[in-house]
Symmetry: C2
């Protein structure tokens, strides 16, 4: 390969790092499972057979299964085999699982549930941020908003600024659990957005909603921050699905 070239054929992770073999196998199997190709209770091929089938060593295959098992998707037992766990046991809010779930066709019902959760969580997050944010938080968020304006969400830099805005606000809530939860969910949604955007490229400018949230947080006005974030989430739902104003109004 000539200097400067890059191999875009390499499978990459969420964070852009290349996937090892065990990672790709885990990802493929994970997607198959969450998309219903293997139903809960189904038993996967035994390790020897499965690894031969996938043309990887048994070691690599086992490490992949460990990953899926750590996320609650499967359960391995001697003499029985590796069984797909009941959905109830799946770690649905695990970032990878979330990512896998929205890789095929984003299930309408599931997407609605996800936004239902966002609508519960994020307004309260904004309210907490309004009460607890530091001046440093405000500085970063304001700067991020400026970058969003100049670059727009169509560019990589713009989306990075958007992420910075949100992650800074999460940090400002002072609640690590809330931050962990929301960051994963928002990431999942942003992938869906990306997915949808190939078909329906144009949608409403998200900046005004962000500004409203920022101003409320800046003014330490929890009530206003909550209201502004409700609007932002509802708008995001409409943008993502194109429908479902009923759910948003519930």
């Amino acid at each position: 390969m000539a200097k400067g070239d890059e191999d875009f054929g390499v499978v990459r992770r969420i964070d852009g790092k290349p996937l090892r073999i065990h990672g790709t196998v885990a990802r493929d199997l994970g997607i198959s499972i969450v998309s219903g190709e293997y139903l809960p209770g189904a038993i996967l091929d035994n390790e020897v057979t499965a690894s031969e089938e996938l043309k990887v060593s048994r070691t690599a295959y086992r490490e992949a299964v460990r990953i899926l098992s750590a996320k609650g998707l499967v359960e391995a037992r001697p003499k029985i085999g590796t069984r797909v766990s009941p959905r109830k046991n799946w770690h649905l809010l695990d970032p990878d699982v979330l990512y896998w779930m929205f890789q095929r066709e984003p299930d309408e019902q599931l997407l609605a549930s996800l936004f239902e959760l966002r609508r519960i969580i994020e307004p309260e997050g904004a309210a907490l941020a309004a009460e607890r944010r530091s001046d440093e938080h405000l500085r970063i968020m304001e700067r991020a908003l400026q970058d969003m304006r100049t670059h727009t969400l169509a560019t990589e830099a713009g989306r990075a600024a958007d992420q910075l805005f949100h992650s800074t606000m999460l940090d400002a809530t002072g609640n690590a659990f809330l931050a962990s939860l929301t960051s994963g969910v928002e990431a999942a949604v942003s992938w869906t957005t990306e997915f949808k955007q190939r078909k329906a490229p144009l949608q409403r400018d998200a900046l005004p909603d962000h500004i409203k949230v920022f101003e409320a947080v800046s003014a330490a006005d929890a009530v206003a921050a909550r209201a502004a974030m409700v609007e932002l989430v509802d708008q995001a739902f409409v943008d993502t699905t194109g429908a479902g104003k009923d759910t948003a109004a519930a």
Copy 2:
């Protein structure tokens, strides 16, 4: 071992199943990490050294690392080693991570954050359940309440009934994400309760709060269900910490 005997020395998982070697190593390492023994950015011993140190094969050690990596606790890179990830990347709401976090001394701040999250989530969950529950849900919940009354929370059967009550209500919300999230958090809290209960055995009877929630859900009264659940969570917070009425009133 004579018939009927059991080996209580075996390390067991949350669900009671025995842990394999890779499981115990993952658990031990995981607890060390979340309890701050290894700080974010720190690099673990290389696989050969570490596995020798722990007297396990490199294969088993690697599978343990895969588990931790799947939960966002560590990140492994060739030539660098296995590095503890920044806390921001940890999957804090993963049931195992949560479990590990409350194994040593339950951090006061963290526990408060967890209840802050519960106070946001669970009332809304109860409200949704009130709107969407089926008659079957009601039947199971009522039955569970009866069992709670007859057995009390001091017994295994009583706690099982309590769990059934809560998990049924989560099912009734019709939101898989909400259910997944809450079940993990409630489980973590119940372990802390168990932990605390060794010192302060006696606390207020939780049954009346449960009944109020049930009656509201049964009457399909979302507002009342929300209010009743707020009370239940606040009461649980007081019972768990013994202090912190400020946070509960926020």
